[in-house]
Amino acid sequence: MSSEMWVEKYRPKSLDEMINQEEIVARLKRFVEERNLPHLLFVGPAGVGKTTAILALAHDLYGPDYRNYIMELNASDERGINVIREKVKFFARTAPIGDVPFKILIMDEADSLTADAQHALRRTMERYTRTCRFCLIGNYSERIIEPIQSRCSIFRFSPLSEEDVKRCLRMIAEKEGVEVSPEGYDAIYEESRGDLRKAINLLQAAAAASGRRVDADVVYAVLGRVSPGRVREMIQLSLKGEFIEARELLRSLLIDEGMAAEDILRMIYSEIMRLDIPERLKVRLSDAIGEVDYRLTQGSRPEIQLSALLAKLVLVGEEMRGGGAALD
């Protein structure tokens, strides 16, 4: 029997099914009623419903075979703005049949395009405005050039509340026959915060790993097998002074898992903030992480920069055990 990932299985199909972002949903519904649409810019953190909202809007606008009227591109996967332009050209060259005179082009991670590429994109948007509306999606509006922003209606999505995330998890757990303890929900939320995609994926993995009886321990065990857990282990090894082992783990994350240094750094940051260490050390480490983060943008080698950070953690661990002042 074929079964989807739960994230897809329970993705709202219509705007009516969306449980959050009420204001945004209300405004989008008006577009559907008017059967007209400006160019859209959706910004907000991961897993809060940006893609879901535009897919649901397309569904409501075009009906069940809405897939024929939209094209999804992910800027970070396309090879350059020229490829994007060719695809747009091909897609937007004809107007659709039916009462809606335009198609919708969804461009996810649009904020990963360089400014130059965005300027080229803006020209493309203009050229095909008659037959095509663009929905650009990204994390930060500041990373979208002003000329594009001014041509779009901007929608700012906010992280989901703990209540919303848990409500949604409960609904899925019930339908999938999964028993989840309250601590299990807490652990999932603690890890995913307002990122619903992450929360649902974690629930599914935890359900699979436990014969569908999820508690906090199961969640932590699963986390130990996915990247955040391994990053945690790397930090613990460093604090214990096991630099060589910590570096091996770092290499395994970079090489075996193929993770991006920026992602590892982000996880290190959130782990450090949760560590039980003196606050002033957290601030110092945050400064050190910020420095590494900047250096990564400057073309330095990620592994060396991250290793230097691990060595600082070794020093912090040393101080915690009373071995002198760290990081001064």
Partner: protein
Amino acid sequence: MAEQPWTERFRPRTLREVVGNEEAKDRFLEWLRSWEDGIPEKRAVLLYGPPGVGKTSLVVAAANDLGYDLLEVNASDYRTAKRLKEILGRASTQQVTVTGRRRLILIDELEGLSGREDRGGVEAILDLIRETRAPIILVATVYTSLREAWERKLRELMKLSLPIELRPIPVVEVIERLREIASRVGVEVEEEVLEELAIRSEGDLRTAINDLEAVARGRRRITLQDLEALGLRDRQLYAEEALRRLFTAKTLQEAKGIISSTQLNYDELIDWIYENIPYILDDPRELSEALEALARADIHKARAERSQAYRLLKYMFDELAGGVALSLERSQGLLGVVERHLRAMGIPLSLLKLEERPEGVSIAPVRYLGGDTWRRVNMAVRSLGGSWDREGRRWIVGYLRPPRIALRYWWSREKRRMLKSISSKVASRMHISTSRAVRDVIPILKVIFQSDPEMAEGIAEWMELDGDEVKWLSKG
């Protein structure tokens, strides 16, 4: 017909085949396409960069793809203004050739113009650009170290044209291209060889292809030994020598002298130091300071390369020499590292005799250890890169180990293919990018595939995963 050199035989015919420099490629094409709407503000593009990064290839491929007739001259062949104007003057006033094809003018080897006697040549090119009705592309090979002088010399040209810089080709892409060529000529090449050739080329694809052709001559199969036979593996000796001297240097001056006299390039040197620092410095503060200095050296190097301001490299020297080499004070060196590590693994040091020998730190049992303890020590030693010397009845941990950082550039072909195909299936079904799929979803899938076959089967069907992909996700 005489056999063409591989660099010609495999020169890209279409833009798709041109490797690397996506951003520059986009800007170049955008400029070229803008001619379709009339003569643009900048009538010439100046493509420049180090050798072997595809400057001429880009022009040839673009002309092919976009249907231009390419008129190609070497700047240095027509050193006088008069000759250049004779050759190009007429061509540049017409947008199309007699056959009706649009024309593209390529002036190659611009760097060949030099000195006062070529002044006229530069003037002539400036005139051409001001008046041309056909796109002109100037190509210059600029060794990065000479860039500043060169920029001064060609300031007017840079101002009048759209300068686009091409950068060295990333190692992975060099490997990819070499592999493709090897398979087209039917030579079997070990992955390690491709990796070595690519890293050594420093982003110069032409050199890499030439080297490959050189080793492949008369062979159906190329192994690492074949490469060594060509003398490409002396690096290890250089590195060992340099590191030994570096960490015993007493002054900044001495350390800098060692760095500047080594046969290694900066990347190699940084790799070797990076690999070995934790085996030399066991004191946490010294380790941290040395790694920070190394990281800072690396950032100075990156800044120098990005901004092409090579004067910045001297700060890299100082960090490497002063920050890394002179950091060793309290640390006990490898002996200290080994002691610390064994103790951390819970192994009583009273069972073992540790001493420094020429070949490395020796760890000898002082009495019979018993199988369990022996295995524990063995595991601890192996994680330091050491091994059991059966004849000497002791473990040896060598002083230096070659960098494994090169691995970062290289995954087994199988693994890359697998990750790529699974992540693109995940990406398209879950509306996310392939990199997010790698980061967030594939680890989740692994947990599911390794613990719940029933759920896994359903997902496999939904994602249309093939048998190999399912197997890959299911193994630990």
